[in-house]
Symmetry: C2
Subunit: 144 residues, 2 copies
DNA sequence: CTAAAGCGTCACATCCATGTGAGGGTCAAG
DNA sequence: CTTGACCCTCACATGGATGTGACGCTTTAG
């Protein structure tokens, strides 16, 4: 498949697909006319890339991951030459775990907010000073 | 507390604290000499902001969230004037949920990789074409 | 054959969270 | 009074993921 097809199937712009290649995340074969020819499995790879990007991993890291292990057609993973990779993989996994935890913390925050909005608890006895501290600032009116 | 203290207590640079204010995420009081005076609870707020940023929410969205509900000293949430906010909160919560799911997908990917690296499975009968498709590309040697 | 659709490269633009530094006040300690 | 530690504003820089557009070649449909 060519870049347009892949873009269509993944919802990722051609520009980005070229960018990913530049970053070493994709290695499409080149047809004699210079066109990029993608393999069917690249659809999965791109989705994978997007997941990892959404995970906050920079392309450089993703490149290293994909470089050592690539998607097979059956969604299987095939290990390639990758010394010290296990350590690396584990480290990244840990990073993601931490990110997930931060997100869950945020969700708890949001839930607390939702609960508060739903049944407003009159907070007991705050001082006037406290009440004033979020007062509007003069000269600040940013467009939303 | 002043900006230096807050920076120290949160590990966030002064620059960023000013930036957050500019984005409407913090509203420190101004002392007569122009210095920003932060409330103790801003420490928690900043942590909260960082979590949400790490969650991938842009400052504009975070501003709207904080704008309608702010941290009390006891970690409680106090709802302020916020029409249609519940919907908004829910939408963001949903977004975060999706992000978490993508991260978990990525983790499964990593786990699969780890398993593969650990006990390499000889993938059965791939065609030569398939095997060739990740062959090195001429003219590509990017510095890592 | 011709036009449209796709592709390629190059390069500049944008957004957002951050960094960095210049130039200049404020304030407390010596 | 002076020095050093903070603070302020302004403004330009950067890095990473993306967008956009120019210009030209290739392939495909009519």
């Amino acid at each position: 498949m060519r870049i347009g097809d892949l873009a269509h199937e993944t919802g990722v712009s051609r520009r980005l697909l070229r960018y990913y290649e530049e970053q070493g995340l994709l290695r499409p074969v080149r047809l004699p006319n210079g066109y990029r020819e993608y393999h069917q499995s690249d659809v999965a790879t791109v989705r994978h890339i997007r997941d990892l990007l959404a995970a906050g991993l920079p392309t450089a890291v993703i490149a290293r991951l994909l470089d050592c292990v690539h998607d097979d057609e059956g969604g299987r993973m095939v290990p390639v030459a990758c010394p010290g990779m296990i350590t690396h993989l584990r480290r990244e996994r840990q990073r993601i775990t931490e990110t997930i935890e931060r997100l869950q913390t945020s969700q708890r925050h949001l839930d607390t907010m939702l609960a508060a909005v739903r049944n407003p608890t009159q907070p007991p006895a705050r001082t006037t000073a406290e009440r004033r501290r979020r007062a509007p600032i003069v000269g600040q009116n940013r467009a939303l």
